[in-house]
């Protein structure tokens, strides 16, 4: 069985979590730990890049919800990008389109982005969808 793959990238005031594989009752705690470690109170935007996520159980959606609640409390916006198949359907059934910004497209691979000086983990904002996601935030 595919397990969860997790990566994270940071831009100033923004953080992107890229999820792949399966976010389920076993891996949800791993996601929770990663978010707790890397999410800052100053993050105005959080993106969950889900184009390679194959399955999300209610335990995974619960983590998304907790992230949204934390975001609402600190005034940041959470976007779920690139979800398709059963994951997109699960988000629809959960009514998450009323809570999150759901973006159907993919976040452009960061490998194509040009590195600029921003300290460890900093990536330049790539063109394309990511730019549109962050439009009006001082980065788009």
């Amino acid at each position: 069985m595919n397990t969860l793959s997790l990566e994270f990238d940071r831009l100033p005031s923004q953080v992107i979590f890229t999820l792949g594989g399966r976010l389920d009752g076993i891996s949800a705690s791993t996601f929770n730990a990663l978010v707790a470690e890397h999410l800052l109170a100053s993050d105005a935007h959080v993106t969950l890049e889900c184009s390679k996520l194959e399955y999300v159980s209610s335990a995974g959606l619960r983590e998304f919800l907790m992230l949204a609640k934390r975001g609402a409390a600190q005034g940041s916006k959470v976007t779920i990008a690139g979800a398709s198949g059963t994951v997109a359907f699960a988000l629809e059934l959960a009514g998450f389109n009323a809570l999150f910004k759901l973006s159907p497209g993919l976040v452009k691979p960061y490998a194509e982005a040009t590195s600029v000086d921003g300290g460890p983990g900093f990536r330049a904002q790539p063109a394309g969808l990511l730019g549109r996601l962050f439009r009006g935030t001082g980065r788009g």
């Binding site: 009752g25 076993i26 194959e54 399955y55 335990a59 619960r62 359907f89 059934l93 959960a94 009514g95």
Partner: protein, 389 residues
Amino acid sequence: MSTPSAYVAGFAKASLVDPDLAASYIQHTQLGDVQADALIARLHGDPQGHHWIKLGIDGDLAALAHAPSEVRAFFEQAHEVPGWWQPHDALEGCRAFHRHTELFLVAFLSAVLVEGFSTLISKSFSITGKVMDNGEHRLKQNLRHLMEIFMPGGMEPGGDGWKLSVRIRLVHARVRLLLDQSPEWDHAAWGTPLSAAHIAAASTGFSGNLLKQAEVLGVRLSEREQAAFMMIWRYSAHLMGVVPELLFTDKASALRLARMAALCEPPPSLESCQMVHSLINAAPVLAGVKDQKAHRKFTQRIYGFSRELIGDELANQLNYPPRAAFNQVGWFRASNRVDQWLQKVLPPVARSRHMGQFQLMLSLSHYDPDGLRYAMPEKLHAETEPDRR
């Protein structure tokens, strides 16, 4: 095989309606689950037992190469997907469930579980104390299972609904073994603990009866949605070990077996009454109602709903409070119809309802911070069991 004494009168009644199905039901009151029982018996006292079960449920069949043959046989069979399972069609059932989660929940708590506990299965739960003690926790586990089987992809091998269904089968086998060895269990009167008949009867309650009672509350599903809803439960029942002879194929066959079970089973016992009242009193706790007055009002409301759904005969046998003058279910159904119409004409209202219902289910379901656990009960009585939550 002779008929367990508690079933003699019911079997005579049921035989007048459907002699073949009645005979099959009674035969299965004396059978357990051949493969799961063999696995549990083989792993009894084996320090590697939990390790093998975890590998099997997590789908690492190759890693089971050195596992005992009973373990391999069980998981190879569990991982075989039946030909009638159509994952794409199942999505219709997921959609239908999540559109009406709240109503399914009301039907589940106030009718399906109550009718389930009215059978002799309550003897098993009562002796172990696994529902009576910590009823809120058990209820949350039930709701988690319900939630996961209706998530898209949840019933694919490796999905959480699939895993929880297999886990339930093994927990039943473990409790069956413990009860089987206990002097508290009266085999001559009650047959086999957590018998194949009881597991099958419970599966008809969770599926056909849940659908039927939800319809009384105002749920309307298309033919395709109903078929998909039943297929999801059929697969879960198959994974929970329901034998092919008693595995329903659709709503009609589930209700036929449910009726047969109701006829064959003896009237509710004292244990049934205790279980049902404990369940109804756990519901406000589950809903987070702390105030004593509000708690009482909440339980009165559930008793009222439950009586209307299960009928006066069973409600009186279970010592329910008298019927309220006000027709709660009728009013509730009418208000649900209005709400469904509103959702149809106002999509934002529908979206908001979906989100609210989903969040409600999340708040009522059990989530272990350490993830899914596959530990099996070690002791017969819950009060002597280490905390395995």
